[in-house]
Structure formats: structure tokens, C-alpha cells
């Protein structure tokens, strides 16, 4: 066992390495183009090895490390690392998938002019994500949380010349910011109630009941709503598919969007029953709506994006029903099979140069390796026995039924809707398989299009590796129950998660029906109001545009108009009023004050004239006046 100092230094190294590599890559510029990917992947490999080392050192212990950061009188925010089983599990997942994605990207973006920028941003993302995973203090977690938002922004907008990409990037950041504002208020509420944001101290101090605690829990959950694209902040994630496909695999499927689930796991002990009920409800709405939206998409990535939203909803249901282990289990399996699906989709796009599934078809022959990888991952997603997704989904469903049993009544609607959504999942995945890999090839330009080839090993190997990790036996020896899996030994579950045969049978039969329906869905469906509802994702975007974006912008213009026409005019009027007053005073000055002065001077003038006329220089008159004066004086004296 290493001593704590060594471990702390290792953790620092883990975070600093990717930031360093990212900064270097960005500063070096195009000179780095050819090497950026290799260097970044090498550093990620080092990180992966270090994570495994840290994992072996930690096991199921909980370690915390503090480094002073912000210190003012009365408030200290240290950078705290929390190292437990969840931490190192996430460290390994993030590093592992990041490594695969980086290797994949070296080939996938080979012709890209600005690869240094791509790999630089990717490294920034890895560093920020590791920060979230390691943070043991909610403020530190929040800081990295926002940084992840930045790297997501930069990567979605990587092809900034495309207006759609630029718009999607902005939308992602702003929608995340909305969630984050709630998250921040939640942190303040915690601070207000218990005086700390340290997770370890909170678990001792925080009393989680009462409406204030529910409000706190809900505010914190807002962070998850933003980052994990839960209802109502769903719509940024499908748009985020404008980014390069490997980015979608890493950030918008496997890791960043799972950060919301991770957050819920970290703060689960703070959540009151009421807060959990809200969370469960939102998870269910999200899962069902997104699964339906995936149904009629024609873009290969959009299907996967909506599927991700839907699966995140399932994980949120797991958290809401206090089935932390189940939710984390699904997070893990989902990270592998969804990354695999995205990378497989990338491989397909690489081959056919389109994302429109209507222009694909029959690719299983041209791209056999990609097909096999896709099929395994899709089976896992659909929840077919012997694949990882089956195990984890069963765990959540079982937990949800157990929770509903305890709550009784209406609560049963939640597991039932979840089962229904899993049927939809099977349906849209079967449809995707049918459209992409079966039938015959339908290129947009049948004459001019070149024959499709399988992608190179740097694209297929990561897909296949992820497919292998999506097989059920990787997680549990018993293909029908996760009870004995290593995962449950690591994260002991509370409550009943046993393999209830009827739940398994129910979900399998729903999956079969769903899959069969999806398989039978025609290539080009006639547009009905129901299909349009799905295609346009319940018209949420239009709704937001009309209800929120436009009123906000209008308010901005109104407020500016007010500023110009009212406040500034008042100032101008005050100015003009002063000038007018000045003129009036000036007039008064000329007419009255000056008039008086002028009058006075006129008077003096006349008097002067009068007296001057007396002093006329004639001696006789002087003598005469002197005599008169003398007589007067004498008169008075006598």
C-alpha cells in the first residue's frame, strides 16, 4: 500500500497530465498535427495505468485528500479529492474509453486540418472529467463541471465553419448553464444549512428532511438535468451530434452525460423522499419521450443520441428509486456499449459518407467487423439476455418494481413505463439494424458512388473491443442475474435485486415484440402526425423557441429600448432642463439683475450729469454757491 502522500500526488498527476497535454497541443498549433493524437493517447495510457494502480491501492476504502485553495476569513474551499470504489471505477472507465476514442480519432480525423485543436480540446475534456470524478468538495466539483461544459462546447463546435455546429455548441453550453445555475443555488443552500460543501462532512452534518432539504436536493438535481440532458433540458444533446463522431462517443454517450448520474450517486444521501420522487418522475418522462423520439429518426447518430437520453433517464429512475448500485451498473455497461455503437456508427459514416440511414443498407457484407461490433453493442442496449445491458437494465427494473411495491398504487406506473420504453429501445435498434446493415445498399447517387469498404483496424478494433466488453459474462457469471457479479461486490446493494423470473420474462417478451415491430418498420414511412412528433422530438425545440428564447430576446430589446428612451431620456431631459433653466436665469439676469444695475448706472449717469453741470468752471457761480452754502450753514448754526 502506498502512503497517502504518494496517492495524493498520483491523483494530482492524473488531473494535471491531460491539462498539460491539452495546453501544449493548443499552444504548439499545426506543428503538432501529426503528433497530437499519438502524444495524447500515450498520456491517456499512462493515466489508465495510474488509475489501475490507484484502484489496486484503494479497493473499497474511502480516502480524502485536501489541498488549500481558496482561503478567506470564515470560509475555506479546499481542493478535496475523494477516492473510493466509485472514483477509481470512473477513473478507469473514463481513461479506457478516452484511450480507445483517441486511437480511433487518429485514423478517423486523419485528413483534418486542425487536429492539434481537436486533440487539445479532447485532453481538456479528459482533465475536466477526471476533476469531476475526483472532487470531494461540491464547489470543486462544480468548477470542473463547468469546465466539462466548456470542452463539450469546444468539441461540438469543432467544425465552427458549419453554422449548425456553432449553434449546437452555443445551445449546449447555455442549456447546461441553466442547469448549473440551479446546481450552484443547491450548493449555496447546502452551505447555508450545514456550513460546508465537503461531501464527507456533509454526510455527518446534513439532516435530510423537510421542504428546505427537498428544495436543496432538487436544485442539486438541476445540475444533472442539464448535464445528463433530462427533461426539460433535453434538446441540446441531439444537436450536439454536430460534433465529430468520436466526440459523441466519448462525451455525449459514455462519460460527460453520465456525470449527472455520477453526481446523483455522490449526493444520494442528501436527497429526501420527495426529492427522489421528483427525480424518478423526471427520469421516467425523459426515458419515455426520448425513446419515442428515437423511433423515427433518419440520422444514424440522432437515433443513438435519443437512445442515450433515454438510457440516462433509466439511470435516473434507478437513482430515484434509491437503487444506486443498479444505476451505476447501468452507467458502466452503457458507457461501453453506447461508445461502441457510436464508434460503429462513425465507421459506417466513414464508409458511406452520409449519416442518413435511408441511404445505407446491406452494409453487413461490406463492413462485417463493424457489423459484428454494432450488433453486439445493440443487443446489449436492447437488453437481450447474455449481454451486459440485460443485466444492468434488469437490476434497475427489479429495483423499480420493488420500490413501486413499497410505495403502492400509482407508483407502479413508473416501472411499467420503463418496461414499455425498453420495448421502444429494442424497436428503434432493430429498425436501425434493418436500415443500415440489412436489405440492399441505397446510395443517394447509385451510379456515382464507390463501393463501400470496411474501415481500417484503428476504427474497427476499438469497436470490437467495446463489443467484447458488452457481453454479459464480463460482468457476471450468471447470465440472468447480476447478484453475483463483481460489480455488486464492489458496490453492495441495499434491498432486493434478486433475479425475479417474472420481471425478466416480462421484459424479454416486451423486447422481442418491440424488436419485431422495429424490424418490420418500412424504410420510408409515410409522415403521420405521430411520426412527426417523434422526428421533431415532441416539438420541444419550437416550443422553447417560442416560449423562452424569443420572449427573452424580446425582453432584451425592450429593456434596451427602455434604457434609451426612458432612463437616458430622463438624463437628457435633466440636462436640457438645466440648460433651459440656465437660459431663463440668464434672461432674468439681463432683464432684472442687469436691469437694476443698468438702472443704477443710468441714475448715476444722470446724477453725474447734474453735478457736472454744477461744476461748470465759472468762478462766479462757484462763489455764488459758496455764499449760498455759507448762508445755509450760518442759518443752522444760529
Amino acid at each position: 500500500m502506498f502512503d497517502e502522500n504518494t496517492i495524493q500526488n498520483l491523483l494530482w498527476l492524473l488531473i494535471v497530465l491531460p491539462f498539460l497535454s491539452g495546453t501544449l497541443s493548443l499552444l504548439a498549433g499545426r506543428r503538432m498535427n501529426s503528433r497530437a493524437g499519438g502524444v495524447a493517447a500515450a498520456l491517456t495510457l499512462i493515466g489508465l495505468v495510474l488509475s489501475v494502480v490507484v484502484a489496486t491501492q484503494t479497493g473499497t476504502h474511502v480516502l480524502t485528500f485536501h489541498t488549500d485553495w481558496l482561503l478567506i476569513p470564515g470560509r475555506a474551499v479546499p481542493i478535496t479529492f475523494r477516492l473510493d470504489a466509485l472514483t477509481w471505477l470512473m477513473l478507469i472507465i473514463v481513461h479506457f474509453i478516452a484511450l480507445l476514442v483517441q486511437i480511433y480519432s487518429i485514423s478517423y480525423l486523419h485528413d483534418e486540418r486542425d487536429r492539434y485543436r481537436y486533440f487539445g480540446f479532447l485532453s481538456l475534456f479528459i482533465g475536466s472529467m477526471l476533476g469531476i470524478v475526483l472532487a470531494g468538495n461540491l464547489i470543486v466539483l462544480y468548477a470542473f463541471w463547468e469546465l466539462v461544459g466548456l470542452s463539450s462546447y469546444l468539441l461540438i463546435g469543432f467544425w465552427f465553419q458549419k453554422p449548425a455546429a456553432a449553434a449546437a455548441a452555443k445551445k449546449a453550453f447555455i442549456m447546461n448553464r441553466i442547469g448549473d445555475a440551479g446546481f450552484l443555488l443547491g450548493i449555496f443552500l447546502l452551505l447555508f444549512q450545514s456550513g460546508t460543501t465537503e461531501l464527507t462532512e456533509l454526510s455527518d452534518l446534513f439532516v435530510s428532511n423537510g421542504p428546505l432539504a427537498t428544495l436543496t436536493g432538487f436544485c442539486l438535481f438541476c445540475g444533472c438535468i442539464g448535464k445528463s440532458a433530462q427533461f426539460p433540458l433535453t434538446t441540446w444533446l441531439p444537436d450536439a451530434m454536430e460534433g465529430p463522431t468520436p466526440v459523441s462517443a466519448l462525451i455525449h454517450a459514455a462519460t460527460m452525460v453520465a456525470a449527472g448520474i455520477f453526481l446523483l450517486a455522490r449526493i444520494h444521501f442528501l436527497l429526501t423522499p420527495d426529492a427522489l420522487l421528483i427525480i424518478t418522475g423526471i427520469g421516467t418522462i425523459t426515458m419515455l419521450m426520448a425513446a419515442y423520439s428515437a423511433l423515427y429518426q433518419t440520422d444514424i447518430k440522432k437515433v443513438l443520441a435519443y437512445s442515450t437520453v433515454s438510457q440516462l433517464g433509466l439511470m435516473v429512475i434507478g437513482m430515484g428509486t434509491s437503487n444506486v448500485t443498479g444505476a451505476l451498473f447501468h452507467l458502466t455497461t452503457h458507457a461501453f456499449f453506447k461508445a461502441g455503437l457510436f464508434l460503429a456508427a462513425g465507421s459506417v459514416i466513414h464508409g458511406v459518407h452520409t449519416q442518413d440511414m435511408r441511404q445505407m443498407g446491406g452494409l453487413r457484407k461490406a463492413m462485417p467487423l463493424t457489423f459484428v461490433g454494432w450488433a453486439v453493442c445493440a443487443a446489449a442496449l436492447a437488453g437481450i439476455p447474455f449481454f451486459s445491458g440485460f443485466l444492468s437494465k434488469e437490476t434497475i427494473l427489479t429495483g423499480a418494481f420493488g420500490w413501486a411495491g413499497a410505495q403502492g398504487g400509482l407508483a407502479y406506473s413508473i416501472p411499467v413505463l420503463a418496461v414499455l420504453s425498453s420495448g421502444l429501445t429494442a424497436c428503434y435498434m432493430a429498425r436501425q439494424g434493418q436500415l443500415v446493415f440489412f436489405g440492399s445498399y441505397r446510395p443517394a447517387d447509385p451510379v456515382g458512388s464507390a463501393p463501400v469498404h470496411e474501415s481500417g483496424p484503428m476504427l474497427t478494433a476499438p469497436v470490437l473491443l467495446l463489443a467484447v466488453l458488452s457481453i454479459g459474462f464480463v460482468f457476471s457469471g450468471n447470465p440472468f442475474s447480476a447478484e453475483q457479479s463483481w460489480f455488486f461486490r464492489l458496490f453492495p446493494a441495499v434491498g432486493d435485486h434478486g433475479g425475479h423470473l417474472w420481471i425478466a420474462l416480462l421484459s424479454i417478451s416486451v423486447v422481442v415484440v418491440g424488436g419485431w415491430l422495429g424490424w418490420r418498420m418500412p424504410v420510408s414511412t409515410q409522415s403521420t402526425s405521430l411520426s412527426r412528433l417523434s422526428e421533431h422530438n415532441w416539438y420541444l425545440d419550437g416550443f422553447y423557441k417560442r416560449l423562452i428564447v424569443r420572449p427573452f430576446v424580446r425582453l432584451a430589446y425592450l429593456s434596451y429600448g427602455f434604457d434609451r428612451r426612458v432612463i437616458d431620456k430622463l438624463v437628457d431631459f435633466a440636462g436640457i432642463g438645466t440648460v433651459v433653466l440656465a437660459h431663463m436665469i440668464g434672461w432674468a439676469d439681463r432683464m432684472i439683475v442687469d436691469g437694476l444695475v443698468n438702472g443704477a448706472s443710468w441714475l448715476a449717469h444722470r446724477l453725474g450729469n447734474l453735478t457736472r453741470s454744477v461744476q461748470n468752471g465759472r468762478v462766479q457761480s462757484y462763489i455764488a454757491s459758496a455764499v449760498v452754502g455759507l448762508l445755509v450753514i450760518l442759518w443752522f448754526l444760529i
Binding site: 465552427f160 445555475a181 440636462g575
Partner: protein, 553 residues
């Protein structure tokens, strides 16, 4: 040492005036050298400053004016300068921003002599405001600052420069009148315990003063034992901040119950001072001079205006408004914080509506300065530290933002956002630095803006004076900031390259001089964001002492 901060730019200014016009290429070098020296001295001050000490340091004092007025006591105005943990960050900021502004002034090409002389004069007056500890001296600098500023906007500005400069001048002057009134009433209400002790024979000269003697004088004062002829009135801010130095029954005495316009005199005085500095900060609804001044001012003047001048408002709040009238600040905490929140949200909405880049940044300044007011009004350690931090941070970032605007304006003389699209394709370095400045300004962790906003919001939420919903409304500001900055980024820099045809070929990337101005500021913002204790260490002790006057027993 502090005096040299005043004399370096003044001497530089004099030198510029004395040199003949034939030497006009030297002017910009004089400005640059003077500002570099200034920054060096700031660095030295930073090195000498003892952050553990809460009181004023590096004091320099000379008797300046001393005039016996019979029964009115003795008028004494001192030349008194010194710094503490609140002013030091701002002094450092001034040093840095003025140097960057000097570099940016190289593009000025008309009436060089007047420009550089005024610029250096401006530097001296701004520094003077931050280091003066005598209210009269402070007010002198505060007023004198208007003169160079008025001409810098009015002579070198854009098309509506006359309107903007007069508006700026009159607006600020109106504020100063209020401050002047309060200054005089304060003067009449406060005694200088040291000089008074000498006058009544307790001590022989200043060096013999001890805390005991001060207390003794204050007791005598409170017991009406000192005759008015022997009282020495003072403008010394240190004495004004101490309740014991107020004459009993005087106009602004702490116990005085004089009521004017239905308000106790001290409350009224507080509101007057607040208004005076609120115009400077600026606080909505006294902000409309700012967008006009910014739009018309030449780039370096905008940099100085946003970078440091606005901070004098915040500094005035801390030192004079809140510092001398804690009772008023506590009484009106809700109103003041409310104005702060209004500034944050209103400024944000207005920024969103702008089509002129510079105006957008001007309104974003209004929004960011709202955080300063909110933090100070919270009367908490987090809030006040955060406010000081936010001022320093905004100084760096707004300087950077206005320089970036200037880069574009120098090339095309067009600042309208919709005149450009996809600039990232042709000006990558410019785009990168703009993105850094935008993200830092919208409060991205890792940059300085985050810490300031986090702490001011945290302070307002923890505050006993403020309700929680205020903070909730204020967080709308951080969402709006993301919206207006990212929308601008999207409209101007992303998408396919497009601009008005007459600009083709003019949109070249940053020059070496521009990089030299921008990169240090970006690094500074990053450093402050990563190691916030660099700054908090300076302000901690002083703020801790400052906040004590609001502690609730």
C-alpha cells in the same frame, strides 16, 4: 514610496509638455517608460506590503494646509497617503492596466503632445484616488480625474464624442457635488485626536501619540471638555472611520438625531455618498453615461475607463460609503443589494440586445459591476472579499475585452457585430484570445471571473441582511452572460467567413504589439483564477477588520 507613484506620471506629463513638438515621436516612449516605472514601483509596493497587517501601511504624511478659524476650530488638510489590503489590489491593477493602455495608445496619431500629457495626468489622478487617505486629497484627485478624461474622450473620441464627454463630465460632477456636501459635513463633525491632543497640551508633538492618549482625547470630547477653539477638524479618513472622533451633537455624529427631509442626517449622508459613487461604478439607473462614453472613447481610454475608473466607485463604497457609514449600509442593505441585482440582470439583458460590440461589452460591465455592489451590500466576508476580487478580475478582463474590440476597430473602423461572420477562419489567434476573454468574463472556472462571482453570490446568499431569492435572481446574470457572450462568438467568429466587401484583406491576425498587450492579461486572468489566494492573501486581513463593524453580536 507611494508618493513616487504620483510623481512618476506627473513628471512624465511635465516632460511631455516641455518637449518641443519636433520631438513628438518621443512622447509615446515617455508614456511607456513612465507607466513601466509605475508598474515597477507597484511591484515594489507589493513586495514591501505586509499582508498580515490589517491597518494602513506605507503611510506618508505632511501637513499641507493649517488654518485657525477661531471658534470654528482649526482647518487642517494633510497630504496623507497609504494603502491597505483593499486598495493594494486596485493599485496593482491600475499599474498593470495603465501600462497596457500606454501600449495601446501607440495607435493614436493626432495631437500627440496633449494626448500623452493628459494620459499621464490621468494615471496620476487615478493612483491618487486609491492611495489618498485624506478625504480632501481624495476628492481633489477624484475631481481632477475628470479633466483629462473629459478631454481624452472629447478630443480623441468617435463621432458623438462631444455629447459623450459632456455627459460623462456632468454626470460624474453631479455625483461629486453630493460627495462634496458630505465631505464638508464630515469635516465639521470629526476631530483629529492627535492635533487636538497637542492643542490641549496632552502631548508635545505627533510622535508622542499613543492609543491611550487618543482614547483620552475621545473621552474628553464626548464629555464636552474640549473647547471648540482647541478642536482640530480633519479630513483624515482614518479618524473619520472611528466613531469616537465625532463631535457629540455634531451634524454627522453617531448619536446625532438631526433629521433632514424625514431622514436621519447620517442616513442622508450615506445615501448621498452612495449616489455619488454609484454613478461612477455605475449602478443602474445611473449608468447611461457609460455606454456612450465607451462607444465614443478611443480604445486606450475605454481600457482605462472600464479597467480602473469604474473601480473607484467600488473603492469609494468600501472606503467612504460603507467605511464611514456602516449604520447606513446596514440600514439600506436590502435596497443596495437590490440595486446590485437589478444592475446584474438589467445589464445582462441590455448586453444581449446590442449590435455594437463595444456597447455590448459596456453593458456587460454594468452587469459585472452589479456583482461588486451585491457582494459589498451582503456585508459578509465572502461577499466583500469577492467584491474586491471581482473588481480586480473585471479590471483585467474588461481591459482585455476593450483591447480586443480595438483590434477590430483599428482594422476596419466598424464595430457592428453583424458586419462580420466566421472571423475564426482568418484571425485564429484573435479568435482564441477573444474566446478566452469571453469565457473568462462569463465566469468559467479556472479564470478570475469565476471566483469573484462565486464569492459575491455566496456572500449574498449567506448574508443575514438579504433574502435568498435575491441570489437566485442574480444567478440569472450568469446565464445571461453565457447567452450574450456566446451568441456574439457564434455570430462574429463562427460559420463561413464573411464580412463587408470593403474589409477584404484588412482582417489580418494579431500583430506582435497586440499580442504583447493581450497575452499578459490572459495569463493574469488565468493565474488569478487558478491561484485566487494570490489576491485574497492581500485583502484578507483588511477585509476581516473591515467586516467587524457589521458583525452582529
Amino acid at each position: 514610496m507611494l508618493s513616487s507613484l504620483l510623481f512618476i506620471p506627473l513628471l512624465g506629463s511635465l516632460l511631455v509638455v516641455l518637449l518641443p513638438d519636433s520631438r513628438k515621436n518621443v512622447y509615446k516612449w515617455i508614456t511607456l517608460v513612465a507607466c513601466s516605472l509605475e508598474l515597477l514601483v507597484c511591484g515594489a509596493v507589493y513586495a514591501v506590503f505586509d499582508p498580515a497587517q490589517a491597518d494602513y501601511q506605507l503611510l506618508e504624511r505632511f501637513d499641507w494646509i493649517s488654518l485657525p478659524l477661531g471658534s470654528l476650530g482649526v482647518v487642517s488638510i494633510d497630504y496623507l497617503v497609504g494603502i491597505d489590503g483593499i486598495s493594494l489590489p486596485l493599485v496593482l491593477l491600475t499599474g498593470a492596466v495603465m501600462l497596457v493602455g500606454a501600449l495601446s495608445s501607440w495607435t493614436i496619431d493626432k495631437r500627440l503632445k496633449a494626448y500623452h500629457a493628459l494620459y499621464l495626468l490621468l494615471t496620476a489622478t487615478i493612483i491618487g484616488c486609491f492611495i489618498a487617505l485624506d478625504f480632501f486629497l481624495f476628492f481633489l484627485f477624484f475631481e481632477f480625474m475628470l479633466l483629462p478624461m473629459y478631454f481624452l474622450i472629447g478630443l480623441w473620441g468617435g463621432p458623438r464624442r462631444e455629447y459623450a464627454s459632456i455627459k460623462f463630465f456632468l454626470y460624474t460632477l453631479a455625483g461629486s457635488v453630493l460627495i462634496l456636501l458630505v465631505m464638508i459635513s464630515l469635516y465639521l463633525s470629526v476631530m483629529d485626536p492627535v492635533e487636538t491632543a497637542i492643542n490641549i497640551g496632552l502631548i508635545g508633538d505627533r510622535s508622542e501619540i499613543t492609543d491611550d492618549i487618543m482614547r483620552q482625547v475621545q473621552f474628553l470630547l464626548a464629555d464636552y471638555k474640549i473647547q471648540s477653539q482647541q478642536l482640530v477638524h480633519t479630513f483624515d479618513l482614518r479618524y473619520m472611520a472611528h466613531g469616537g472622533n465625532y463631535l457629540p451633537d455634531s451634524f454627522l455624529g453617531p448619536t446625532g438625531e438631526i433629521v433632514i427631509f424625514g431622514l436621519p442626517s447620517r442616513m442622508l449622508a450615506f445615501l448621498c455618498v452612495f449616489l455619488g459613487f454609484a454613478i461612477k461604478l455605475p449602478v443602474v439607473p445611473f449608468h447611461t453615461w457609460l455606454p456612450d462614453a465607451h462607444v465614443e472613447a478611443p480604445t486606450p481610454v475605454s481600457v482605462v475607463l472600464a479597467g480602473v475608473l469604474l473601480k473607484i466607485g467600488g473603492y469609494g463604497f468600501l472606503r467612504i460609503g460603507w467605511g464611514l457609514f456602516p449604520d447606513g449600509a446596514a440600514e439600506y442593505a436590502l435596497l443596495l443589494a437590490g440595486l446590485g441585482v437589478i444592475s446584474i440582470v438589467y445589464g445582462g439583458f441590455n448586453a444581449l440586445a446590442q449590435s455594437d460590440l463595444k456597447k455590448m461589452i459596456a453593458y456587460s460591465s454594468v452587469s459585472h459591476m452589479g456583482f461588486v455592489l451585491l457582494g459589498i451590500a451582503s456585508l459578509t466576508s465572502e461577499g466583500v472579499n469577492g467584491a474586491v476580487y471581482q473588481m480586480a478580475s473585471h479590471g483585467v478582463l474588461s481591459a482585455m475585452l476593450f483591447l480586443l474590440t480595438g483590434v477590430l476597430y483599428d482594422r476596419t473602423h466598424d464595430r457592428r457585430i453583424d458586419s462580420y461572420r466566421g472571423l475564426a477562419s482568418t484571425m485564429p489567434a484573435y479568435t482564441a484570445l477573444t474566446a478566452i476573454a469571453f469565457f473568462a468574463s462569463l465566469g468559467l472556472p479556472g479564470f478570475s471571473g469565476f471566483v469573484g462571482e462565486l464569492f459575491t453570490l455566496m456572500g449574498s446568499f449567506q448574508s443575514l441582511w438579504l433574502p435568498g431569492w435575491m441570489t437566485a435572481v442574480a444567478t440569472l446574470g450568469i446565464i445571461l452572460a453565457a447567452a450574450y457572450f456566446l451568441w456574439t462568438l457564434q455570430r462574429m467568429f463562427f460559420g463561413p467567413l464573411w464580412s463587408r466587401t470593403e474589409f477584404t484583406g484588412q482582417l489580418t491576425d494579431l500583430t506582435a504589439r497586440e499580442r504583447l498587450m493581450l497575452i499578459p492579461l490572459a495569463v493574469l486572468a488565468l493565474l488569478l483564477g487558478l491561484f485566487p489566494n494570490l489576491l485574497f492573501n492581500l485583502s484578507n486581513a483588511t477585509v476581516a477588520q473591515w467586516i467587524q463593524r457589521f458583525s452582529v453580536e
